[in-house]
């Protein structure tokens, strides 16, 4: 034992100590801009995410205008968009750019960075009792890489030929050939560069989350005493570490095809009257690589949502989450399965049927852990004492959406049925419900729940209730009818259906959906207003633990400084779900286990 270096204690404490020393000399720049405090970084992710969410949602409103009112024109659009909406009617080129950007922004920038970036940064250290992330510096870089990526993506919106317009899945050759679409001229390059920055950001974040959860748990915080939020964010980080690099490989090869003349994804192409020299590549290879990320990405979005919902439901039902271990193991099963099922997005790509059979099998297996989770949430509600805070409403809404969207996955995972439903509105309804609306609901739940911790103030409850009910009803009104048009085979990503004998009957439905979309969008703006208004003007939090929750973040001061706990780190003695136990309303994790306590869970 020559080099006994007791690094560990110092590691646990370093962030806090550094912060304490620097606390007084922090300038505006180090406190709010280049902050290394995980809570500030979380807020940076959150606010960037909110801005992107507004942009992404606004895009959907724009293309819904075209879909709902294909024969009308809106002169105001020409004033705003110029050449993209000649005569007040969105051009097809721009329509596809909008669709693409809507998908990219919401999937990557909002539901990945905005959701897990916010909550992983905010909750992991607070809930496991750490001063900060394992590497606050990398954590800061993680945000700034995301920021640079999003600036590049934003730039692409304003270039002459417009942003990428090949769909968020950017399938080549459409995305590889500048003759194929306007967005593939330069917009696609910016998309790829932006995504490369984003992937690096995710990687740095993910590595940080994993090593923080492993190394920096406070005394007594065993893995099975962690709240489900931390578990879900931990799994999300693992998924990100394993799948995002493949996206990087995928888009880098695409970049070469676009700019260096290689033909990784290109073969035998005649376009714009020219025979291209590319030979030997396969566009399907791209799809394999893309979906190797793409499918786990869905779970990167939905796992944190599950974790947040579990925590919120448990706190507000005043009951322990039912089947804590089953919840963790089903998440683990989802992680493992999600990495091996990617090709179910490609059943009609001409994939080999035998290979397809393997993917059918794995895919439908995912339904089992998902079902376990749903039933566990239901049982958690059963015989609870439910407080309908806005957070709880959104968590219940999440479960409802997850059921509705999840069940349709059984159709799409079964290849024989998927043939008919592939790339139709059924598909849109499925993934919007299960990973779009559901994840958003959970994000809202998390925001209403932890807003007091973030900003020391409450959000307005009444606005929260109105926000929830309009969004809940609106989401079903938007996506429920889409199942029907999807079953009739109505393809997605069409600019106009009025020339189609098979689909034009759904014109009325499209109009209805578009109107609801506008109402729901305005409601979200109301939420955003509530959010920013409450940061400065909301009702102040007066007690450290306003929700009577057991987890560690509520043992910090109302507005914790860098380092989170002013004194020693708290020591943990039990699991985080001791609600209504032994006649007590709740028992905090830092309360030692009493002599006469019942139950196995501590």
């Amino acid at each position: 034992m020559s080099s006994v270096a007791s690094l560990h204690e110092s590691e646990l404490q370093h962030a806090g100590h550094d912060a304490q020393h620097e606390h007084h000399q922090q300038s505006f720049l180090t406190k709010y801009i280049f902050s290394q405090d995980h809570k500030t970084i979380a807020k940076q992710f959150l606010i960037t995410g909110i801005i992107w969410a507004i942009v992404g949602a606004l895009f959907s409103v724009l293309f819904r205008l075209q879909l709902g009112f294909p024969e009308s024109s809106f002169p105001i659009l020409e004033d705003i968009l110029g050449k993209w909406a000649p005569g007040g009617k969105i051009s097809p080129d721009f329509y596809y750019a909008l669709v693409t950007m809507h998908g990219t922004i919401l999937v990557f920038f909002v539901l990945t960075a905005g959701l897990s970036g916010t909550f992983a940064n905010f909750l992991i250290p607070l809930q496991i009792g750490a001063r900060d992330m394992a590497s606050p510096f990398l954590n800061m870089l993680s945000y700034w890489f995301f920021f640079i990526g999003s600036i590049i993506m934003a730039t692409s919106l304003f270039i002459q030929t417009g942003p990428a317009s090949g769909g968020w899945t950017i399938y080549p050759p459409l995305s590889a050939l500048s003759d194929a679409a306007l967005g593939s001229v330069r917009g696609m390059d910016l998309w790829i560069i932006s995504m490369a920055f984003f992937i690096i950001s995710q990687l740095m974040g993910g590595l940080n989350y994993v090593s923080t959860v492993l190394n920096l748990r406070t005394k007594g915080m065993t893995m099975t005493r962690m709240p489900l939020t931390v578990w879900s964010l931990f799994f999300t980080a693992i998924l990100g570490i394993l799948s995002f690099p493949v996206l990087l490989s995928c888009v880098v090869l695409l970049f070469c095809d676009r700019n260096l003349g290689t033909s990784f994804y290109l073969s035998d192409i005649i376009i714009a009257g020219k025979v291209l020299p590319h030979e030997g590549g396969s566009p399907i290879l791209f799809q394999h690589l893309f979906w190797f990320l793409g499918h786990p990405e869905v779970y990167i979005v939905v796992l944190p949502a599950m974790g947040l919902a579990s925590e919120v439901i448990s706190v507000n039902a005043r009951k322990p989450i039912f089947g804590y271990v089953a919840m963790i193991s089903s998440m683990l099963a989802i992680v493992a399965l999600s990495l091996i099922v990617w090709a179910h997005h490609m059943f009609v790509s001409g994939m080999n049927p035998f290979l397809g059979a393997g993917f059918i099998l794995f895919t439908l297996l995912i339904a089992v852990p998902s079902a376990i989770k749903v039933f566990n949430w239901l049982t958690t509600l059963w015989r609870g004492n439910i407080r309908f805070t806005p957070a709880m409403l959104f968590a219940i809404g999440f479960v409802s959406m997850f059921i509705s969207g999840g069940l349709t996955g059984i159709f799409l995972g079964n290849a024989a049925l998927d043939i008919q439903l592939h790339d139709t509105y059924f598909n849109i309804a499925h993934f919007h419900l299960v990973m779009g609306v559901a994840a958003f609901f959970s994000m809202f739940a998390g925001l209403y729940q932890w807003f007091p911790k973030m900003f020391g103030r409450f959000m307005n409850n009444t606005l929260g209730y109105i926000h929830f009910w309009i969004t809940m009803v609106g989401a079903y009104l938007i996506f429920w009818p889409m199942h029907y048009s999807g079953l009739a085979g109505m393809p997605r990503r069409y600019y106009d259906y009025s020339n189609w004998e098979s689909f034009k009957q759904f014109g009325g439905m499209n109009k209805f959906i578009s109107i609801v979309v506008i109402i729901v969008f305005i409601t979200q703006l109301m939420f955003v207003f509530n959010f920013f208004y409450s940061i400065w003007k909301g009702r102040k939090v007066r007690e450290a633990n306003p929700w009577d929750a057991t987890t560690l973040e509520w043992t910090t001061p109302i507005r914790p400084g860098h380092g989170n706990w002013p004194g020693e780190l708290p020591e943990v003695h039990r699991w985080p779900y001791d609600y209504s136990k032994d006649g007590k309303e709740f028992i905090s994790q830092i309360t030692p286990v009493g002599e006469e306590e019942t139950g196995p869970h501590h």
Binding site: L203, N215, P277, G280
Partner: protein, 245 residues
């Protein structure tokens, strides 16, 4: 020690300590390497998929048969084997540097770091030579009934199947992606070597300045070492995929 088990009798997972008895930096480095192996894996598997999807693929023994200063001698795989040995040897010197670091022997670390850096430079020089050789070579290829002279580039491959032309055997254009994947993957690996080299140089300078002695441990060297070995590890697989099979 080699068994790698942790001292018993301690609850490693009970919080307040690292369950693996490993500092966070090393955990991050290891998991980063796992992540990076997926990047490389994706490239190599794409290459495999494309290769199996092609009707014809050139025999690597035939493409990589030159050696510097040996003229036109047919020495298949000789040069790349040399490159492999260079990399393995630089890995050995790296691990020796880490070893000296454990003993807090600054002079030893410096010595082996220098050797590692030289190894890395040698590898990069070899790669530069090989690329130059391929990119400037001239091979006769039958294109549209005419014999042209091609080098192996990112879009051209003169190593296609042979056909009879004017009484002689001439190669036809081979799969374009041979060059594409070769230059791309070895380039990406070379980029890793290059960045590893930069990291090693920084480590060397920091060692010289005594930073690690002040800090009381040479863990940074260890982490740089992990990265360097990973580069070696990847090369083993690149060697397999492009040169051997």
């Amino acid at each position: 020690m080699a068994s790698g088990s942790l001292p018993a009798g301690i609850k490693w997972w009970s919080g307040g300590k690292s369950p693996y008895n490993v500092n966070y930096g090393k955990i991050m480095m290891w998991y980063f390497l796992v992540s990076d192996s997926f990047t490389f894996g994706a490239f190599l598997i794409s290459y495999g998929s494309t290769r199996l999807g092609s009707d014809y693929w050139p025999d690597p023994n035939h493409v990589f048969n030159s050696f510097p200063f040996m003229g036109h001698a047919n020495l298949p795989l000789a040069f790349v084997s040399l490159m492999t040995f260079i990399l393995i040897f630089s890995s050995v010197t790296m691990v020796l540097a880490v070893h000296e670091g454990h003993k807090m022997n600054r002079k030893g670390v410096e010595k082996y770091m220098i050797m590692t850096i030289i190894g890395g430079l040698a590898f990069l020089s070899c790669q530069a030579w090989e690329w130059t050789h391929l990119l400037t070579g001239s091979h006769s290829v039958l294109v549209d009934g005419k014999v042209e002279h091609w080098a192996t580039t990112i879009t051209k491959n003169p190593f296609g199947p042979m056909v009879e032309h004017a009484g002689q055997l001439v190669a036809t254009p081979g799969p374009q992606l041979f060059g594409g994947f070769f230059f791309f993957i070895t380039g990406f690996h070379g980029f890793h070597v290059f960045s590893g080299l930069i990291i090693n140089i920084i480590m060397y300078i920091k060692t010289r300045l005594g930073h690690f002695d002040q800090r009381g441990h040479y863990e940074m060297v260890e982490k740089a070492g992990l990265y360097w070995h990973f580069v070696d590890l990847v090369w083993v697989f690149v060697f397999l995929a492009f040169y051997l099979i």
